[in-house]
Point group: C2
């Protein structure tokens, strides 16, 4: 099976659990952009057991909490799409009014250039805060 | 407060719970597009209590199950964005390879016209199946 998220971490590893991992995506214009990736090659949330589903969402919400605290976004965006890579993963995206697409979704043609004043947070600090939130 | 989802249902009502509702969005090219809308004016998932969070996701996943069964999409997309309307709601979108944006996210400039052969499902049948899934 040729699957990007089976073969690669998909970003800088911030947290590794038994069932899923959190990675940092260095996306231009989107400081704090994280993904939560299910370890097994599963396509949809409704392919998981109830317990796995609750666990995955708990990790997603822990990441959301940490990103809200550290980056104070105007809005959080959560999305499980996977049309190109049908291996269950969540995008956890802090949004700011001056990010490339705001108020549009964070995909497609940008409305403006990235604000260079918005720099990427320390991934060490993010990793510690996520670990603490998931203890 | 001037909020679209406080003032309006936001679509054809398919299911009404105490804490959230499911509405059908007649989106061209996207048969089966539903939204799950939290009743109270809350911005983020992490503003909800744990119990409310689990409940809202259970409703989202029930809608996903019903849409998978009735529409056999190639992929389901789930998203909580709310940049324009910061009132907690989930987009639950069955995707098909011939839909306007596939494999891109379902927003922004379409890649192709809607396939007229893909017609909207019966909202009565959807409503019954969602009610049954949530019993």
């Amino acid at each position: 099976m040729d699957c990007d998220l089976c073969e690669r971490t998909g970003g800088e590893l911030l947290w590794q659990g038994e069932r899923c991992r959190v990675v940092y995506v260095e996306e231009p214009g989107y400081p704090g952009f994280c993904r939560v990736v299910w370890e097994a090659h599963v396509k949809e949330m409704t392919d998981l057991s109830d317990d796995d589903r609750v666990h995955l969402m708990e990790v997603v919400f822990a990441v959301e909490s940490v990103l809200r605290e550290q980056l104070e976004p105007v809005k959080m965006n959560l999305a499980s799409l996977g049309n190109a890579v049908p291996h269950l993963h969540w995008h956890v995206i802090p949004r700011h009014v001056d990010d490339p697409h705001f108020p549009q979704p964070a995909w497609g043609k940008p409305l403006r250039a990235a604000n260079p004043a918005r720099t990427h947070p320390s991934t060490t600090a993010l990793a510690s805060a996520i670990a603490a939130a998931l203890e």
